[in-house]
C-alpha cells in the first residue's frame, strides 16, 4: 500500500480540524463532504477517482489502483491503462474494483485500435466470472 502510493502519487492530506482552512478550501473545490474522502487527481488537479468511507486493505488498494489506471486512461495511455486494470483483476480478484477493472481492461485496447475483439473477449470473460455485477451487464452488449 505505502509503496504503491509512494511510487504513483504525491500524497497530501487535509485534516478536518488541524487544517481547517485548507479543508474548507479544498472541500468546497472538490465537493468533499465526508471523511474519509480520498481523491486521485491527475497532474493538472482534475479528479479522476474518489473513494468515500472506510474500506478493508485489499479493497482500498484495489480502489487506489483503479484510480491510477483511470488516470492513465484519461491521458490516453492505453497500454499502460490496460496493464494497470488487468493487474487489479489478477492480484485482487475478490475486490469490488475487480469487475470494473475487467470492463475497462477491455475498453483500453479498443480505444487504442478500434478493434472490437477486446470487447468481445471481455464480454466472454464476464460469462466466467463476476456474472452478477453491473459491469457484466454493461459488457453483455459486446457479446
Amino acid at each position: 500500500m505505502v509503496k504503491f502510493v509512494t511510487d504513483n502519487f504525491m500524497p497530501a492530506r487535509v485534516h478536518v480540524r488541524d487544517d481547517s482552512a485548507l479543508f474548507q478550501k479544498y472541500g468546497e473545490k472538490y465537493g468533499a463532504q465526508w471523511t474519509p474522502t480520498i481523491l486521485e487527481l491527475d497532474s493538472d488537479g482534475v479528479e479522476r477517482h474518489r473513494i468515500e468511507g472506510f474500506l478493508p486493505n485489499d479493497d482500498f488498494l484495489a480502489q487506489l489502483m483503479l484510480g491510477r489506471a483511470q488516470i492513465a486512461f484519461a491521458e490516453q495511455k492505453w497500454e499502460e491503462a490496460e496493464r494497470r486494470f488487468r493487474e487489479i483483476v489478477e492480484k485482487l480478484p475478490d475486490t469490488d474494483a475487480a469487475p470494473e477493472a475487467l470492463y475497462w481492461a477491455g475498453v483500453a485496447p479498443y480505444k487504442a485500435t478500434q478493434d472490437n475483439s477486446s470487447l468481445k473477449q471481455t464480454a466472454s470473460a464476464f460469462k466466467d466470472r463476476y456474472q452478477d455485477t453491473s459491469w457484466a451487464k454493461k459488457a453483455s452488449i459486446w457479446a
Binding site: V2, A12, L39, L41
Partner: protein, 32 residues
Amino acid sequence: MEIKFRHDVDAVLAEAKQQHKPVLLDFSAAPM
C-alpha cells in the same frame, strides 16, 4: 512504514503539475 502526507496542498498541486505526477488528496478526520 507510513505514507508521508504533506499538508501544503497548494505546493503539492503546483509540484505535481510541474513533475507531471498524480496527487492523492486525503480528506481526513483521523487522529494525527
